[in-house]
């Protein structure tokens, strides 16, 4: 169970996002192309609340908390589809930069002022064990050559954490947004966020760490994506429940139809499991446990599957209204699709889980 502090954090975050980032905010960000897919004001407010810097050490201006707390913030953000760069910057970039030597940037992250894009995938695929982007040592730093796609929050980013291979294997590198040899093209995605495609031709970069860091960074990102999907499932399920209790058809509330009751009850159970699995994975990550890799993969697979069911049931149970752009279920459906795909979809997570279990 959550500690008392964690319960309070979740409540605070829930209240914050409900008030500061209702679903309407994502809609606004989506419709305002100049937003670059994130709400800068929200991100700064998250800085003030200590959410943006949840993983940043206190010495660098952050909250100095751990994976569970980061997951709880992601979960609360998922409920209202808050359009912040929390996953890319607050979670993954913070983890990547944790090695040190980047106090100033960590401070900017914690303040909700910096946005750092996430450059892992290549050619539309998440395959971090087969990176084609190459790093070569050069003077004090190194230079990167290759191409990246689906760079999360890539339109708004000031800099990028880039996964690339060097002589030692996979590693993480920091590349400034304005670096020589870096070309960025942006894409509007289905949920209104804006990603980038990067072409790197000997772009100067700073090495942040090797395979161990990549592993930790990916695990943390996956676990927090699972948390955001769990919150997303909770949020859209709340809409569906309200609809079932109030919408009338054939003269009665549609929630009286037993077939819908059973489907809703089953979905409720699934969401309970997704939440419990995600929290367990976050705790095992925090404890650096041996079975954390399996748990994270299983948690993201479960949250992805459950959130997919939640958005599908939401649209279906809302009937024709659920299909309209002015209703919210569709926004949840789009965001869910992106989160499931991020860092490997449920199919890929199940594959990782099976391998972790040795079969």
């Amino acid at each position: 169970m959550l500690t008392e502090e964690q319960t309070l954090l979740l409540e605070a975050a829930g209240g914050f996002f409900a008030e500061q980032a209702p679903v309407a905010l994502r809609r606004r960000v989506r419709d305002d192309r100049k937003s670059k897919g994130v709400d800068a004001g929200l991100w700064r407010a998250m800085g003030e609340m200590g959410f943006a810097g949840v993983l940043v050490p206190e010495a660098d201006g952050g909250s100095g908390l751990g994976p569970v707390e980061a997951g709880l913030i992601a979960l609360a953000a998922g409920r209202t589809l808050a359009p912040s760069p929390f996953l890319s910057s607050g979670v993954m970039a913070a983890a990547a930069l944790a090695g040190g030597g980047e106090a100033e940037r960590l401070g900017a992250l914690a303040a909700g002022e910096a946005v750092i894009g996430l450059a892992v995938d290549e050619e539309g695929r998440h395959a971090p064990d087969r990176l084609t982007c190459q790093a070569e040592a050069s003077g004090n730093g190194c230079r990167l050559t290759g191409a990246k796609t689906f760079v999360l929050d890539g339109a708004a980013a000031d800099a990028f954490v880039v996964a690339a291979a060097d002589a030692e294997g996979a590693g993480l590198f920091l590349v400034e947004g304005g670096a020589d040899g870096l070309t960025r093209e942006t894409d509007v995605l289905l949920d209104g966020s804006q990603s980038a495609r990067l072409a790197l031709e000997g772009a100067p970069a700073q090495r942040l760490g090797g395979a161990d860091l990549v592993e930790r960074f990916l695990s943390l990102g996956r676990a927090c994506a699972a948390a955001e999907m769990t919150g997303l499932a909770e949020g859209v399920f709340a809409l569906t429940g309200e609809h079932l209790r109030t919408r009338k058809q054939f003269g009665v509330e549609i929630g009286r139809f037993q077939a819908l009751q059973h489907r809703a009850a089953h979905l409720f159970c699934e969401i309970e499991l997704a939440r419990a699995g995600t929290l367990k994975a976050l705790r095992l990550l925090e404890a650096d446990a041996a079975d954390a890799a399996f748990a994270v993969a299983a948690a993201k697979a479960k949250a992805g599957q459950v959130a997919a069911l939640a958005v599908q049931e939401a649209v279906q149970m809302h009937g024709g209204m659920g299909m309209t752009d002015e209703a919210d279920p569709g926004l949840y459906m789009k965001r869910q699709r992106l989160l499931d795909r991020l860092l490997g979809d449920a199919d890929q997570q199940r594959e990782l889980a099976a391998r972790a279990l040795g079969y």
Partner: protein, 394 residues
């Protein structure tokens, strides 16, 4: 069989000679479809020619009687025509709610005069029709509809509102359910009428869907005059016509579950996501879901052939259309879930030429309506439970 072979040879020769080359390429987007109608702008001269040639033979409605402009073909001949068109990849010359839905209802319930007046322009693609069934707040519950037709002797005055009217903003005429007897219990007192969308008092407003497109409209009627000669079927028995017509709509939506000539999903996925050393799709879990889908799609195609033919021949219970509608809609949704998975992160794009305007994502979202439009999946299951399983109280 010999006659059919001769028909096949003739048909093949005629199609070879008359189907323009540009009409033998796949339909890439909605813009490639020929909807016809008073205001239709042909995309190309070939598109116009192809419609005119096919319409001249009545082959836009192959099985309708020739006296009403149809092709007068038998079911088997029509099947041969479909096969021969598929063989050369010919596009449908006309996409038409008139052909799919109104026509069959008129053939069954229309007066001789109505058939002569309305069917030939449908065959020729001159009049585009839309359907006025659903109303706001009623959803699946058609019987509760409130659009009211007031009797004024030789005409009615219609007031009310419809929703989910597909392409109402581009249609010329509407076939519409209106309440002609406000006192009658729910399913009674409803009539099936036709009127021109240019009649004063008719207005439309497109509804934007989650796919970002607006194939549907809200449609408003404010004192619209409808001639009584445009009543189809008996007064206050429009429900019968509507049910008959819904059966046709269901069979059509159900057929969406069938992927005619589509490339196997597994091949598409392997192209994008790679193969392992044994030549298998490199994502074993996605591969397993694809195999489940392909098994179901195979069985569904077989059921569509089997039951579709029996339905057309009147040798299957009409409620079997609900089986096809239900399963076909769910299957089509699954197909697009898998297409999204196979598409990798590129399939998340929403705009731009690279992704053809976010086509993958928008098509995926569009399919979510399959299990809502034309009677929800829940309604189909209710129908099956009642009419095919005879369960109590269903």
């Amino acid at each position: 069989m010999i006659e059919l072979d001769a028909f096949r040879a003739e048909t093949r020769a005629w199609l070879e000679a008359n189907c323009p080359a540009s009409m033998r390429t796949p339909v890439a987007s909605e813009e490639d479809m020929c909807w016809g109608g008073r205001d239709f702008v042909f995309q190309s001269q070939d598109q116009r020619l192809w419609l005119e040639r096919m319409a001249a033979r009545g082959w836009t409605a192959p099985e309708w009687p020739a006296e009403y402009g149809g092709g007068g073909l038998s079911h088997d001949q029509a099947q041969v025509l479909r096969e021969e068109m598929a063989r050369i990849g010919a596009r449908p010359p006309l996409v038409s709610f008139g052909v799919w839905m109104l026509g069959p209802a008129l053939l069954k319930y229309g007066t001789e005069e109505q058939k002569r007046k309305f069917l030939p322009p449908i065959v020729r693609g001159e009049i585009r029709w839309c359907q006025g069934y659903s109303e706001p707040g009623a959803g699946s519950d058609l019987a509760s509809l409130q659009t009211r037709a007031e009797d004024r002797g030789d005409h009615w005055i219609v007031d009310g509102q419809k929703i989910w009217t597909s392409y109402a903003d581009q249609a010329d005429w509407i076939f519409c359910l209106v309440r002609t007897d406000p006192e009658a219990p729910k399913h009674l007192g409803i009539s099936f009428v036709l009127f021109d969308m240019k009649t004063p008092g008719v207005s439309t407003r497109p509804i934007t869907l989650i796919s970002g497109k607006s194939p549907f409209c809200e449609t408003f009627f404010d004192g619209v005059r409808v001639e009584k000669e445009n009543l189809v079927g008996e007064l206050n028995r429009g429900w019968d016509v509507a049910k008959y017509l819904l059966g046709h709509e269901r069979a059509m939506i159900g057929a969406m579950g069938q992927a005619a000539n589509a490339r196997p999903l597994g091949e598409l996925a392997a192209e994008r996501l790679g193969r392992d050393d044994a030549g298998r799709l490199d994502q074993p879990m996605l591969r397993a879901r694809l195999a489940e889908f392909d098994v179901d799609a195979f069985a569904f195609d077989a059921a569509l052939e089997e039951t579709g033919a029996a339905l057309a021949a009147g040798r299957a219970h009409p409620a079997m259309a609900s089986v096809l509608k239900y399963y076909g809609a769910e299957l089509n949704k699954r197909r697009h879930e898998l297409l999204m998975a196979a598409g990798g992160s590129d399939a998340l794009e929403w705009e731009g030429a690279r992704s053809n305007g976010g086509a993958a994502a928008r098509d995926w979202l569009r399919t979510k309506a399959n299990s809502i439009e034309g009677g929800t999946s829940e309604v189909q299951l209710n129908i099956i439970a009642k009419h095919l399983l005879r369960l109590p109280g269903a």
